[in-house]
Homo-oligomer: 336 residues x 2
């Protein structure tokens, strides 16, 4: 197959209509759009037989760059920190055009005293991320079908806020106060058979207590309700956290049902075990052992000695709530 | 400028050396590489004068797809969860070739019983993310100059682990036990002048106590040391957390220095205030007020009533440590 290509400047056609060309584009809609633009600009002097019907790669980059320059400059929304966010990109933006526009825009934003530029790129336009990188942009984060890139253009060191740094895991110690037994499991596929509390990672937007109750149910079949937070563990560069940090919280729960129906995909064993026995056994993890001693102390002397109670309070942002955990205050000091 | 293009199949040249062509490539090194490959395959029958010196866009996609097929198939590393991770991509991989290879590879991995595919893409090859998206891949996360995409190819619902969901912020309540005064600040640029404890976001890998001490120093000029954790707040869909969740921790610190030299960029005011006064004032936030009452109770009845003490323990993963926070146990139960 032989293709004859004449590189044309879209805006020259108005002055010089005798050019012959083949317009190449992968996308029919894009090709049709460009064809009608060319016909309009050429004032009808182009013969349509010259426009091929077979889609091929678009070669009108320079033309589109100019088109973009004249018709679709990068527009950004300024935030209260002095940063500019660009969220809209023409779907047919080519790399060359984008590079020129970005360079020009960043220069303008710097002159206007902006301190940062954010690009919200849909995954279909991810090729523009590579172009942005040549101008100093890096990934800030990405989720599902969008990547967010950023560039600090203010004075001095970057003051850009980072993205989420922690995954949150929750374990639920379901303690039956009537008989001093706690619900424990042994993971499947572990070399050491260690008794531990059922638990797992929080889903995005899920409260600590809800994760505890959900994970306990999923792993053991026991329904339980959140009572208090017992402990928080922070660990960095955690295996399985993609290089990020891990925040692991252990909650005390009360059982609502007792019958065990454990998940054979995740667990090897599951049972109700005396807290005193869990304190003694070597077949457990250091944290579970520590928590067992906390629970034993609570059972004998009252849970007020070990619990962090939770209260749900309205946030300053309308319609939203947060959960606050701390040692319970005496009645006299409790008024908010 | 008129360019004559002949689309050739790189592997046809061996049989038919009379083709004329112009090889178009943006990158000189890539162009040179392709040129020598063509010369080698054509057995020296090509005249070098036909190879242009001006770099232009590469048009030998089909040729390179075949080259890739024969020389560089996608190779993945299998993890213990049955997922495959691909981290190496030829820098000149073109979209068409990658699409074909990815489709073929995913089919093979499915047949081999793999449950997931992970692509670690450098930002310079981000255009391949758009191709992967057409095969069902989405962004898992991205940082700095790399994006990670994933696709669940196992049975049933995706069991892929999510990425970090929380940012962690820490406030430091620096309490001088000798005079019952605590260090408070008022943020600049706020409509309401509320007294609060200095604080800010944790850097990646930074311990809670270290964030508290750093933020206190940066905002107020006061050096202080971590004593205990007082409270944890969880809030979802937090403004400024890019749609993710926020974990906010409040620590008790002891002052090492007293002289205030506050950051005028962030703070409007900064002072040592009586805890009792902070409990009374309406010019504060609900959480600060709550913490002031905890501190007052601690001052009068002992900090063991309010503190979550911290202990650093070795993790099962060699050479790593974690920090564990909970209510202090009585001496008799403390042995780990």
């Amino acid at each position: 197959m032989v293709l004859i290509i004449l590189r044309i400047n879209l805006f020259d056609i108005v002055d010089s209509s005798e050019y012959s060309f083949i317009l190449l584009s992968k996308h029919l809609s894009q090709r049709n759009q460009l064809q009608s633009q060319i016909r309009r600009r050429a004032g009808g002097s182009l013969r349509s037989s010259r426009l091929p019907e077979t889609p091929a790669r678009c070669f009108s980059c320079r033309a589109r760059r100019l088109q973009l320059h004249r018709e679709k400059p990068l527009t950004g929304k300024v935030d209260r920190f002095g940063g500019v966010t660009v969220s809209h990109f023409a779907p047919d933006t080519c790399e060359e055009a984008f590079s020129a526009l970005l360079k020009e825009s960043v220069t303008q934003w710097k002159e206007q005293g902006r301190v940062a530029v954010w690009l919200h790129l849909p995954i279909a336009l991810s090729r523009l991320a590579a172009v942005a990188a040549t101008h100093g942009f890096t990934f800030h984060h990405a989720r599902q079908d969008q990547a967010v890139l950023c560039l600090w253009i203010g004075e001095g060191e970057s003051r850009l806020p980072g993205f989420a740094t922690h995954q949150v895991g929750v374990a639920g110690a379901v303690l039956d106060e009537t008989n001093g037994k706690v619900l424990v499991v042994q993971d499947k596929n572990k070399t050491k058979n260690a008794w531990k509390f059922p638990g797992g990672l929080s889903d995005l937007g899920e409260n600590i207590g809800a994760t505890a109750a959900r994970e306990v149910y999923e792993e053991t079949g026991v329904r339980a309700e959140f009572r208090s937070l017992l402990s928080i563990r922070q660990q960095h560069n955690h295996p399985g956290a993609f290089g990020m940090s891990d925040m692991y919280l252990i909650c005390r729960l009360s059982p609502l049902t007792h019958s065990i129906n454990f998940c054979r995909h995740e667990c090897l064993r599951c049972e109700w075990m005396e807290v005193a026995e869990l304190c003694r056994t070597a077949e457990t993890t250091p944290i579970t052992s520590r928590m067992a001693r906390l629970l034993l102390y609570g059972l004998h002397h009252g849970f007020q000695h070990i619990d962090l109670t939770m209260e749900e309070l309205p946030a300053v942002y309308s319609g939203m709530f947060y959960q606050l955990f701390h040692r319970q205050l005496p009645e006299s000091l409790r008024c908010s």
